[in-house]
Structure formats: structure tokens, C-alpha cells
């Protein structure tokens, strides 16, 4: 077991393209670190540089105290689970798991003991004599993990291990990975583009965008204090509403509402207001005393999705095209569709709002986020300080 340290790590390709750009990251011994980002963000490349399948073009990679930049993968003592599992189809499950041990020429009874231990842990004991082709997706996934486990490696690396499984199995395997990591306490680096995996599994999450590290923090801190539009838009599901806004003194004007900002408004224009769907409510469901503190506005709801435990309302709105354009770029970068400007609200499931009807929605201006539309930087932290106690919401 060991800490992993990245210092100014870079990956440049022959054509000058930088897949990973000046990433510095310290992963503590035993920590579960998630690398997250949309496709093309360089998260997999970074992982492959740690394991040694890609050479770093610059910077220093350390495992424990050892600089491993020039160490071949086989000598780094890391275990990796690949996205497509990469099991050896000509070997039985037992031999697949035993493969790393056989390469080290461990004595037969040692190999048997360790493989059986790993198999028991992963509930693979009855499948040891079968070939990978006879296993289900989830079982193959567990074999791949077994092969990583027997190594007693310094760290586990996962490259989108659950993306090939169906939703239900993914949930199960996610819990299983969390359980194993907890139990073994091995340093783990886990690449994913899945929100839920990122938020639930990691001690800390590193958000990457076009090879540049945006923010590294606990899932909660990322959710509550995103440093820029990108992180704000990426973390949270459904994702944060990013609304172009104009400011006049303390007054903030949105396309569908205007209100006085309870703090100091930054002297930056144009602004983007971030409003999480879960912070918008049906005005009728809000206690009158609380309603006073917030902003109530009238809109026409286009679609309502009632899911039992939650309910989503979709509200299209018009905004000046030149203000919306950068937001469309951002949405494209986040792999999201955004043909038009749409406000998403997560309402109380008891709300009686119907589609096609005018409705009164409500939000608390203390819970909004402000971003500089030009740079994308969050403008919140300075103004936020005074509001932290009242709007830190433990359950989000």
C-alpha cells in the first residue's frame, strides 16, 4: 500500500495535442480517489500513466517514495481492472486469477490459497473451473477484480469498470467495490464518467476538463462549492440550471424572475446564475413564513415527470442568444444536449402542478451560485462566507 503523487504531469502527443495538462494530485495512502470528467477529459490517460501503459511526457509520478516515470508496468506493483475486463479467454477462472502469481513463480499451494481466498471474497468459488466465456457480465467483472486482489498490490486502478454492466448490476457492483475497498483499505484510483459512482464511492473526487484539473475535493464540497461553471454543471443530477443574468446594483435579473441578492453582488457582467433543480420548489408547497424569504415567480410548465419519490418540472424560457451561446458550448463539452434553454425543477412529489399550466415556483436566493460568464469562475466564495451557515444543507 502506498500513496500516489502526481507532480505537474503532462501527456503530449506527437501532433502537440495535450491530453493531460499540468496535473498535480496527491492521493493519500488508503484513499479512494475518483477521476471524473466527460469523454476526452484525459481521465483514462491519467490513469494509464499511473499504471505505466502510457509514458508521461512531463512531470513526476511517485508511488510511495519511488519515482516510477521510467519503471515498466510490471514493476510498479499496481493492479488494474479494465473497462472490458481483459480476462484471458484461454484460461479458466482459477488460472485467470492465478496469472499474476504464476508470473511471480509462487509455490503451488500459495497460489491455491490466495486464489481461493480471493474467490471466496468475491463469491466465485463455484466458478473457478469455468472459462470466462461461460460467465455473466457481473461474474466476469468479479474475476477481473479477483485478478487484481490476489496481487496484494500497492494500489488498485479501475478504468470505468462498471460501464459495461446494466443499471441494476452496476448498483450491486458499486456497493461491492465500496465494501472491498473499505475492508482492504488499499489506495484506489477510479475513473468514471458516472455521477453516482463519483459521488458515492470516492473519499475525494478530481474533476478533469480537457486534461486540466478543475477541482479536487470531497463529493460534498464539489456539490456545495464548485469552483467554476464546469464543475457546477458536471456535479449533481439533474444538473444545475445555468441561467444567464444581468445585474443592477443588488438586483439580479433572470429571464423569468428578478430579485435582490442577499449579499454583495459582484461587479462582473455578464453573469451566470446557478440554481440547482432541488432548490426550486412549488411555491404552494413552501411554508408561508419561509416563502417570504425567497423569490416566487410565475412560469408555464411544459412537462412534468412524476417518479413517485421525486417529481421534475421542465420550464422553457427565452434568453438573449449572445448570453446563451457560451452555455451551449459548456453543455456540449459536458456531453449534454441543449437545443434550447430549459429550467429543470425538482419539486415535492406531492405538488399538484400540471403540465401546460401556469405555476408559481419558488427558490431561496441564498442558495444560488454566481459565475463570471466570461471566465466561468465561481464568484460565490467571497460573498458566500457570510451565508455559509444558513445555506449549508447536509442532504443537498
Amino acid at each position: 500500500m502506498a500513496a500516489i503523487t502526481l507532480e505537474h504531469v503532462e501527456k503530449r502527443y506527437g501532433d502537440g495535442f495535450r491530453a493531460v495538462n499540468d496535473v498535480s494530485l496527491e492521493i493519500a495512502d488508503g484513499e479512494f480517489m475518483i477521476l471524473v470528467g466527460p469523454s476526452g477529459s484525459g481521465k483514462s490517460t491519467l490513469l494509464r500513466m499511473i499504471v505505466g501503459l502510457e509514458d508521461a511526457s512531463g512531470g513526476v509520478i511517485r508511488i510511495g517514495a519511488r519515482v516510477v516515470n521510467d519503471v515498466p508496468p510490471r514493476d510498479r506493483n499496481l493492479a488494474m481492472v479494465f473497462q472490458n475486463y481483459a480476462l484471458y479467454p484461454h484460461l479458466s477462472v482459477f488460472e485467470n486469477i492465478a496469472f499474476p502469481l504464476r508470473l511471480r513463480r509462487l509455490p503451488e499451494e500459495e497460489v491455491r490459497r490466495r486464489v481461493e481466498e480471493a474467490a471466496a471474497l468475491l463469491e466465485l468459488t463455484e466458478h473457478l473451473d469455468r472459462k470466462p466465456s461461460q460467465l455473466s457480465g457481473g461474474q466476469r467483472q468479479r474475476v477481473a477484480m479477483g485478478r487484481a486482489l490476489v496481487r496484494e498490490a500497492d494500489a488498485f486502478l479501475f478504468d470505468e469498470p462498471l460501464s459495461n454492466l446494466d443499471a441494476q448490476l452496476r448498483g450491486q457492483m458499486r456497493t461491492e467495490i465500496a465494501r472491498l475497498q473499505n475492508r482492504l483499505g488499499v489506495t484506489t484510483v477510479y475513473v468514471t464518467h458516472d455521477q453516482v459512482e463519483a459521488m458515492t464511492l470516492g473519499d475525494r473526487v478530481a474533476v478533469l476538463r480537457k486534461g486540466v484539473l478543475q477541482q479536487v475535493d470531497t463529493p460534498r464540497a464539489l456539490y456545495e462549492r464548485p469552483v467554476n461553471l464546469f464543475v457546477a454543471g458536471f456535479i449533481g443530477s439533474p444538473s444545475m440550471n445555468l441561467i444567464p443574468a444581468t445585474v443592477e446594483g443588488r438586483r439580479i435579473r433572470l429571464p423569468f424572475a428578478e430579485f435582490d441578492f442577499p449579499g454583495e453582488t459582484p461587479a462582473v457582467e455578464p453573469l451566470v446564475v446557478g440554481l440547482r433543480p432541488e432548490h426550486i420548489e412549488d411555491a404552494a408547497m413552501v411554508d408561508p413564513a419561509v416563502r417570504e424569504r425567497g423569490v416566487t415567480f410565475e412560469v408555464k410548465v411544459e412537462v412534468v415527470e412524476w417518479l413517485g419519490a421525486e417529481q421534475y418540472a421542465y420550464v422553457p424560457y427565452e434568453a438573449p442568444p449572445d448570453l446563451v451561446r457560451p452555455l451551449h458550448h459548456l453543455a456540449a463539452e459536458l456531453d449534454r444536449e441543449s437545443a434550447r434553454t430549459l429550467l429543470v425543477a425538482s419539486l415535492n412529489p406531492a405538488s399538484q402542478i400540471r403540465r401546460g399550466e401556469a405555476a408559481h415556483l419558488w427558490f431561496d436566493p441564498a442558495k444560488i451560485y454566481l459565475f463570471d460568464a466570461g471566465t466561468g469562475e465561481s464568484l460565490r466564495p467571497s460573498t458566500l462566507q457570510q451565508h455559509v451557515p444558513e445555506h449549508q444543507n447536509p442532504e443537498g
Binding site: L53, L78, A79, F82, Y85, L87, Y88, P89, K131, R147
Partner: protein, 273 residues
């Protein structure tokens, strides 16, 4: 639909008859004794193994059989080993001139063999390779390597990169990853290449007859041309037929044994499928 179904039955039957009748004719001839070969009947009236006994008593044939087996096996072994390594490099590595190597290899495979016989004859005579085993193994290699390389490169490309990377992360050297993971997975390709090479060497006549002069290196197809009857008044047809049957047996045997190994889908289960 009815007509299609009839065509589906008739077509294969025609093909089987078309290909099998000459073979049956050969077998039948080899079993006929003495003057019966001209009796105008398809099946031998009195089947006899006399011809086979004659053939195996002839020095010409037994030495040719030894040469054929030896030369073909050596050519096959060398060709497969070299082609595996070359194909692996072509499939996995990026090096300048890769395209050139592949296209030159293909050009060589398409070269008419007969055009090389003359120059080779001269060269082999002056360097002392004429009428030796290496003298045949070398041209066989150069003609079978391109095909083997192409076949194997196609197989190697099918094997996911991750297989090898997983092996390397698991602690394998590149050589170990190649030997323990890639080669077993490419086994069907290796067998295919081996069979193609063996057949080429085994069936070759042009090189066999022009680059040899004695029993030292003459192979069976060439030796058949030198067959004579028990006496000069006797046609050696039946004996040739018997020899032909004998040399056909290994080919048939190999196909039957290895067709099970040449199954696609060996990689199923390696990755999500």
C-alpha cells in the same frame, strides 16, 4: 422457395461429386493389378495392394517421402515462427516502412514461381545449395511467409490490446505477455498459417523438380515424374496412382485433425461480448 431449396441440395452434391470422382478414380487405379488398369471399369475387378508394396519397395519413392516430410516440416516450422514474430510486430508496433513491408510481402506472394526457377537454379549451383534440403526450404519459406504474415497479422489485430496490457500490469514482460497470452489466443491463426505452409511445401512440383537431381533432396511430387514400371514394357500408371494416394493421406489427415483447431471465436469471453 422450392427452387432455392433444390438448388441448395443439388449445388453441394455437384461440388462433392466434381471433387471426389478424381480422387476415387485414383484410389481405384491404385488398387488395380497388372493389366487391369485398361479394363475400362471404374471399380477394380480384383482389388490388390500389390502397387503399394511396389511403391514402398522402390528406393526412389521412400527417399522422396523422407525428403518431402523433412523439408515440409522444417519449412513449416521456420515459416510459422518467423511469420508469428513478424506479424506481431506489424500488428502491434508502429515503425516506418510497415506499409512497404506488407505490400512487398504481398507482391512476393503473387510472383509466378516459375519465373524464379531459372535464376535460383544458377545461384543454387554456384553456392552449393543445389540438390540439398535447405535449397528447397529457402524458396518455400519466401513464398509462404507473406501469406502467413498476412494471416497472422489479421489474427493479432483481432486480439484486444487490453489483453496484453493486462498481462503487463499483472507482471509479465513483453515476451511473457506474447507467449502466455497472445500466442495461445492466436492459435487458430498459427494453425492456419502452418497448414497453408505445409500444403505449399508438400504439393510443390516446380522447385522440387528443378532444384534437385538425386534422391538427396527430391520430393515426392517430383519423384512421381521419374517413376517407371516394373519393366520398361509396363505402364507405371498404377504405381503412380498408389504413390499419389500415399502422399494424399497426410494432407487429408492434417485437415481432419486441425479443422477443429481452426475455429473462430476463441477470444469470446475475453471482453464484454
Amino acid at each position: 422457395m422450392g427452387r432455392l431449396r433444390i438448388a441448395k441440395v443439388v449445388g453441394p452434391v455437384l461440388i462433392v461429386v466434381w471433387t471426389l470422382v478424381p480422387v476415387l478414380w485414383l484410389v481405384s487405379l491404385s488398387l488395380k493389378g497388372g493389366d487391369h488398369i485398361n479394363d475400362g471399369r471404374f471399380w477394380p475387378a480384383a482389388p490388390t495392394l500389390h502397387n503399394y508394396r511396389t511403391v514402398f519397395r522402390t528406393d526412389l519413392f521412400t527417399s522422396a517421402l523422407r525428403n518431402s516430410i523433412g523439408i515440409s516440416l522444417i519449412a513449416t516450422a521456420l515459416s510459422v515462427v518467423l511469420a508469428t514474430l513478424a506479424a506481431y510486430a506489424i500488428a502491434r508496433l508502429d515503425f516506418p516502412g510497415k506499409k512497404l513491408i506488407l505490400s512487398v510481402a504481398l507482391a512476393i506472394a503473387m510472383f509466378p514461381t516459375i519465373s524464379l526457377v531459372g535464376p535460383l537454379f544458377d545461384i543454387w549451383r554456384s553456392v552449393g545449395l543445389y540438390d540439398t534440403w535447405p535449397g528447397l526450404v529457402i524458396p518455400y519459406l519466401s513464398f509462404t511467409l507473406p501469406l502467413s504474415i498476412w494471416t497472422l497479422a489479421a489474427f493479432f489485430r483481432e486480439i484486444p490490446w487490453e489483453m496484453e496490457q493486462a498481462a503487463q500490469v499483472d507482471g509479465a514482460t513483453p515476451w511473457q505477455a506474447f507467449r502466455k497470452v497472445i500466442v495461445p489466443l492466436a492459435a487458430p491463426g498459427v494453425f492456419t498459417a502452418a497448414i497453408l505452409t505445409f500444403f505449399f511445401a508438400w504439393n510443390d512440383f516446380v522447385f522440387g523438380i528443378s532444384l534437385t537431381s538425386t534422391g538427396r533432396a527430391r520430393t515426392v511430387p517430383a519423384a512421381l515424374a521419374f517413376f517407371t514400371g516394373a519393366s520398361q514394357f509396363e505402364q507405371p500408371t498404377a504405381a503412380i496412382a498408389a504413390a499419389a494416394v500415399v502422399v494424399t493421406i497426410p494432407v487429408v489427415a492434417i485437415v481432419l485433425v486441425f479443422q477443429r483447431r481452426i475455429v473462430a471465436g476463441l477470444t469470446s469471453g475475453a471482453v464484454k461480448g
